[in-house]
């Protein structure tokens, strides 16, 4: 059972190959650079190094966002087309969940987030249960981080904040969470493609045709249009 995992949903770009539950190849960069240019060369390299041919793959796991719209689409276009043409299952995993996997602790709440500009973030709340399984406590959302933190502070629980954009929001988190906020070292904030692959290893596959990114946000033009439809209906 060979799994190819790929993630281009945020600044980190990652490709991993997992064979019978073991990570045999992993490639990751955290530089802001063109994922479209570097993804396929990275897949090619990892596959070559692990001596696998595309036909040896049994499953593709892809990070479906939230994140950069363009980044998510690069990953999904690649993963969907590969899964479709190789006729193998595809599994999409939330990009926030992949980050949350970085911190397998039973005692703390886990809050992964991605900056979404103008004070907004994509975030969700997770916790690892006593069997070591990651549980979603609060649904993923696109929200003002300040509102989210005010709610979170009421829980009065130690919370681990995981994000490559931590520095943008560190003082806001400290202001609301005080000593309850835990900030791990840099590597813990990065979504590792191997964890993505493991997260999707046994999950029920998605439908390759209907699988779409987890944008968590409407396009502005569409939101406005829906608003106008609503107004017209009420008038």
């Amino acid at each position: 059972m060979n799994i190819l995992a790929l993630d281009t949903s945020n600044q980190t770009m990652g490709v991993a190959v997992i064979s019978n539950g073991k990570v045999i190849g992993e490639y990751m960069t955290t530089v802001k650079n063109n994922h479209s240019v570097r993804l396929m060369p990275a897949i090619d390299q990892v596959m070559k190094d692990t001596q696998l041919k595309p036909n040896d793959l049994d499953r593709i796991v892809v990070a479906k966002g939230p994140g950069s719209y363009t980044g998510v689409r690069i990953g999904l276009s690649t993963a969907k087309t590969m899964a479709w043409t190789l006729n193998i299952p595809i599994v999409a995993v939330s990009s926030l969940e992949v980050v949350a996997y970085q911190w397998p602790s039973f005692n703390q709440l886990i809050c992964p987030f991605f900056d979404a500009r103008r004070g907004l973030v994509y975030t969700g709340l997770y916790q690892t249960d006593e069997h070591g399984r990651l549980q979603l406590l609060k649904p993923e959302t696109n929200t003002l981080f300040e509102d989210w933190l005010m709610d979170l502070a009421k829980e009065k629980k130690a919370t681990v904040f995981l994000s490559q954009d931590l520095e943008v929001h560190r003082s806001l988190i400290e202001q609301h969470m005080g000593d309850l906020a835990i900030f791990p070292d840099s590597p813990y904030h990065l979504p590792r493609p191997a964890l993505l692959g493991l997260a999707g290893a046994t999950r029920e596959p998605d439908n390759v045709h209907t699988l779409t990114p987890n944008y968590l946000r409407l396009v502005e033009a569409e939101a406005k249009w829906l608003e106008e439809q609503e107004k017209r209906k009420n008038a």
Binding site: Y69, I74, T81, T212
Partner: protein, 342 residues
């Protein structure tokens, strides 16, 4: 000769398209999923929404293409994809899908210039004879392109401001016509008379360049002034007068260039090639000339992937191959594409 099958993929704007063509000039399957209904709500293409639709449609369109062709990917010799120009987010979906297909099946990958595609749509009708002149008119382009051989494109004239299609869209909006405005104006024009003398931008002597922004402003001013004086100008006549100006400039410059370069064929390409007014004016202008005029059927004027596969077929024969680092290039130049060396 061995049979050659090329798969084409096109996602540069608001059509998700795939096609398979045989030997560079026969369509085996040609599938286009148009998003026009979705963008109508907004009166124009919203790039982010176009990109989202492409992700939803891509594998479905590919599946239908192979089904229609009754073929599998094993029968395909190479995969050609539009690398630019176009909307970058939209292009990226096609480019990455094409790379995934090529990589997974160990097939050659070929990047194609969108306008080269529009020109090669005509090779699905008639074999090219060189030198030939292509008049490319669409929402984003107004160009006169000279081809002396396959795969070589020289721009001898281009717009200095708006593309012809852009001018059509803006005038249509001023006339309160529904989106997309081009076909609406064409239809109205056929019912009206060119009673208003709108300007023709000939530019300096001997230039094959175009300019449509002055014409566009003239139309808008005319309507504005009429409105202030509570005059009513029939929309049909405005459309007919506007179209007469565009068509006269396009046909005259095409005619002059055809003479100067002594071309064998004239090719019309791009979305505005569907315009009836332009088609009949060109036919009239060239009817007594020793030049062959090729105007594609409507289905090949608008964006499709058969044209990308047709241009890709020549690029494949000429040995052009893209690497796994192929990227979307929203402002890819046709001449640089023409001179590329792999």
């Amino acid at each position: 000769m061995n049979e050659q099958y090329i798969l084409g993929i096109e996602t540069s704007c608001d059509e998700t398209a795939a096609a398979i063509i045989k030997n560079g000039n026969q369509i085996v399957a040609n599938v286009v999923a148009s998003q026009i209904e979705s963008h109508k709500r907004f009166g124009g293409v919203v790039p982010e929404i176009a990109s989202r639709h492409h992700v939803e449609q891509m594998t479905l369109v590919l599946e239908e293409t192979f089904k229609k062709a009754n073929m599998s990917i094993d029968d395909i010799d190479a995969i050609a994809v539009t690398e630019g120009p176009g909307l970058v987010g939209a292009l990226l979906v096609g480019v990455n899908a094409a790379k995934a297909l090529a990589f997974a099946n160990d097939k050659p990958l070929i990047g194609v210039h969108h306008i080269a595609g529009h020109i090669y749509a005509n090779r699905l009708l008639k074999e090219f004879r060189f030198p030939l002149l292509a008049l490319v008119v669409s929402g984003g382009h107004t160009e006169l392109i000279l081809m002396r051989e396959h795969g070589s494109f020289e721009i001898i004239g281009e717009t200095r401001d708006d593309a012809a299609g852009e001018a059509y869209d803006k005038v249509a909006r001023t006339l309160d016509l529904p989106y997309p405005g081009g076909p609406q104006i064409d239809k109205l024009a056929s019912e009206g008379k060119p009673t208003i003398d709108f300007p023709r931008a000939w530019l300096e002597d001997g230039s094959y360049d175009f300019s449509f922004s002055g014409l566009k402003s003239a139309v808008i001013n005319k309507l504005h002034n009429a409105e202030q004086r509570s005059q009513v100008i029939p929309k049909e006549d405005v459309a007919a007068s506007f179209q007469a100006s565009v068509v006269e400039v396009l046909t005259t410059k095409t005619y002059q260039a055809a003479k100067e370069y002594n071309v064998e064929q004239i090719i019309v390409a791009g979305g505005v090639a569907a315009n009836q007014g332009l088609r009949s004016a060109l036919e009239e202008k060239f009817k007594d000339e020793n030049v062959e005029l090729i105007v594609p059927p409507l289905s090949l004027c608008t964006d499709n992937a058969a044209m990308i596969a047709a241009a890709g077929s020549i690029a494949y024969e000429q040995g052009h191959r893209a690497g796994w680092d192929l990227n979307a290039n929203p402002s890819l130049s046709l001449e640089r594409y023409s001179l590329r060396k792999e």
